[in-house]
């Protein structure tokens, strides 16, 4: 069925079709609609979910941890400060290997207070042990929400699926929905190995774990992350086969003969693709790489993509506050360290607090990358693009 939906509506629609056992949530702009719409499904009886309106995000994710420990399929949605308030519990959900799924709408973290998009919220929780998948548009947000449940339950790790705040969350687009009956068939039931409610087989969760065994348990969690990329590949392949829409951990656009490329995440990937099309019409060999799966970092696929070009412009919609540039820039420099031939890299931090990035601006960045290719030198490795006073 083809419909018009905003990103939030599409994610809520996916949640309706998933029909989770438990959803616990607290509202926050611009993610509010996801659970607001979902709560109407609960009210109307179109889902059989136990809905827990919590008194804070910390409580919401804590309720998710409890329900998931009992073996339930659990989802929630939040944004920005909400995710920050969940921060403590994010690590617990991952450490307890609970496949909770968050529909995350990317919004700047305060201060200054702002409600618009950048990636500072999800990237601030990149080390929490959650799978992170950044989506480009409404269709992908919907599809990935469906896939995330399966990925999380196979990996026994929690996952967050992100959309760009307002740009996608409140932007209406054409979306092709999967049939209601298809979703339970695709996902199957969650079969948890243990349940807190199974009184015949009692277990302890979250016990004190000191010098003697903490490290082994943490090591096994890290190892679980090592097994995630093949699971994502497998689920994406199955989804593509069943529903006809194919996804990769790293999205390559017109990269085969590209000499310079841009690497970005989220909705900017789409805007960049239009810039690529325009420059290709002028005969310029440009391409675009979009990092779709950010955690775990898809090293192999990313190396393959970035190694194709001479110059790479890396666009980060957040800063690490380390004076070393943005997240993607640092990850890419790290994975390329062992490569004998690597592209010249330049980091463009852009779009903080929702500042728009236009097709023309991205074309301008490509022009700069061609100049770098010509001279072989980068005058400034990290720039803040589109900010006053630069």
């Amino acid at each position: 069925m083809i419909v018009a939906r905003t990103g939030n509506e599409a994610m809520a629609e996916a949640m309706r079709q998933i029909n989770p056992d438990v959803v616990a949530a607290y509202p926050i702009t611009p993610a509010t609609e996801v659970v607001q719409l979902f709560s109407t499904f609960v009210h109307d009886g179109t889902v059989s979910t136990q809905f827990v309106p919590a008194e804070s995000e910390h409580s919401a994710i804590s309720a998710c941890v409890g329900a998931s420990s009992a073996g339930a399929r659990v989802m929630t949605s939040t944004s920005s400060q909400g995710l920050a308030l969940m921060h403590e519990i994010l690590f617990i959900a991952a450490g307890l290997r609970l496949p909770i799924v968050i529909c995350l709408v990317n919004r700047s973290l305060s201060s200054p207070i702002n409600i618009h998009c950048d990636h500072s919220d999800s990237l601030a929780s990149r080390d929490s042990g959650w799978i992170q998948i950044f989506t480009e548009n409404t269709q992908e947000a919907y599809d990935t929400t469906l896939m995330a449940v399966k990925i999380a339950e196979k990996a026994l790790l929690p996952a967050m699926v992100t959309t760009d705040g307002f740009i996608i969350s409140h932007g209406m687009e054409r979306v092709e929905l999967v049939g209601d009956a298809e979703v339970p068939k695709f996902l199957g039931e969650r079969k948890a190995k243990t349940s807190l409610l199974d009184v015949d087989n009692p277990i302890t969760l979250g016990a004190l774990d000191l010098q003697d065994y903490f490290f082994e348990h943490k090591r096994s969690e890290i190892d679980a992350m090592n097994h995630v990329l093949p699971i994502i590949d497998e689920v994406q392949k199955e989804f593509g086969k069943k529903f006809g829409r194919n996804y990769n951990t790293v999205d390559e656009y017109k990269m085969d003969d590209a000499e310079v490329a841009i690497l970005a995440m989220g909705s900017t990937g789409g805007t960049g693709k239009v810039a690529v099309d325009r420059l290709r019409e002028q005969g310029k060999k440009v391409g675009l790489i979009r990092c779709r799966v950010y955690r775990p970092f898809p090293k192999g696929a990313m190396l393959k993509a970035v190694s194709k070009v001479k110059v790479l412009g890396i666009m980060d919609r957040a800063d690490t506050m380390s004076t070393l540039g943005g997240h993607l820039y640092n990850e890419c420099r790290s994975i390329l360290y062992d490569s004998e031939e690597r592209p010249i890299m330049k980091n463009y931090i852009y779009g903080l607090g929702g500042r728009d990035i236009s097709i023309e601006e991205i074309e301008d960045i490509y022009a700069e990358l061609f100049n770098i290719q010509k001279s072989g030198e980068v005058d400034k490795e990290i720039v803040y693009y589109g900010v006053r006073g630069e």
């Binding site: 018009a4 760009d164 740009i167 996608i168 409140h170 209406m172 054409r174 805007t271 239009v274 097709i359």
Partner: protein, 190 residues
């Protein structure tokens, strides 16, 4: 159809966003690719607001703002005194204004040369039929006429469905809006 971009000007509470969403919804029904998005600022009742549409036969990939719209729709004529509603409008652009004035008067007021101006008194239509100054749905009808983008009857059907969904227990609201859309479609003129 090549990509077409529309900018809606309204005041907070007048339904610019709703109109853009309804328009997109109707266009999807006729097989188009669409986008509809508002510009969220420090929004409050009565303040100038914007909403946008993209519409195309091909998938729409960009997610940036719209700076040079092909069509501008002005829901509130008083906005023309404070907001540059023609900003970025190309020489062959179209502007549709809810006003009591004629198209030539508006053309003069906005100092336009080559652009096509259309007018309709959507507030009068809304006041008479809906008993409230809600010009957004009538303007939708006028937009269908001047943009020549969609089949009018197909659009009507889609808007009706959406309104029925929104107002399940108020058939008179749905009927009123349908009537207002039809009348604005008939009365919009250059």
């Amino acid at each position: 159809m090549a990509l077409l971009e529309i900018r809606w000007h309204g005041r907070g509470g007048q339904g610019a966003k709703t109109a853009a969403l309804l328009f997109a919804d109707a266009a999807v029904e006729t097989g188009k690719y669409i986008q509809a998005f508002p510009e969220y600022g420090p929004e409050r009742m009565g303040a100038p607001v914007f909403a946008f549409n993209r519409i195309s036969d091909e998938p729409i990939l960009q997610h940036c703002g719209i700076k040079e719209p092909n069509i501008v729709v002005v829901l509130d004529p008083t906005l023309m005194e404070t907001v540059d509603v023609t900003d970025g409008l190309p020489p062959d652009g179209v502007i549709l204004v809810n006003t009591q004035k004629s198209a030539s008067e508006i053309k003069k007021q906005l100092k336009l040369t080559s652009q096509n101006v259309y007018v309709v008194d959507a507030s009068k239509i809304a006041n008479e039929i809906l008993k409230r100054n809600l010009p957004n749905t009538p303007m939708l009808g006028a937009l269908i006429k001047v943009s020549k983008l969609l089949d009018f009857n197909a659009m009507l059907g889609s808007v009706k469905l959406r309104l029925e969904h929104k107002f399940p227990n108020r058939p008179e609201v749905v009927e009123g809006n349908m009537k207002a859309i039809k009348r604005a479609y008939e009365e919009a003129k250059a």
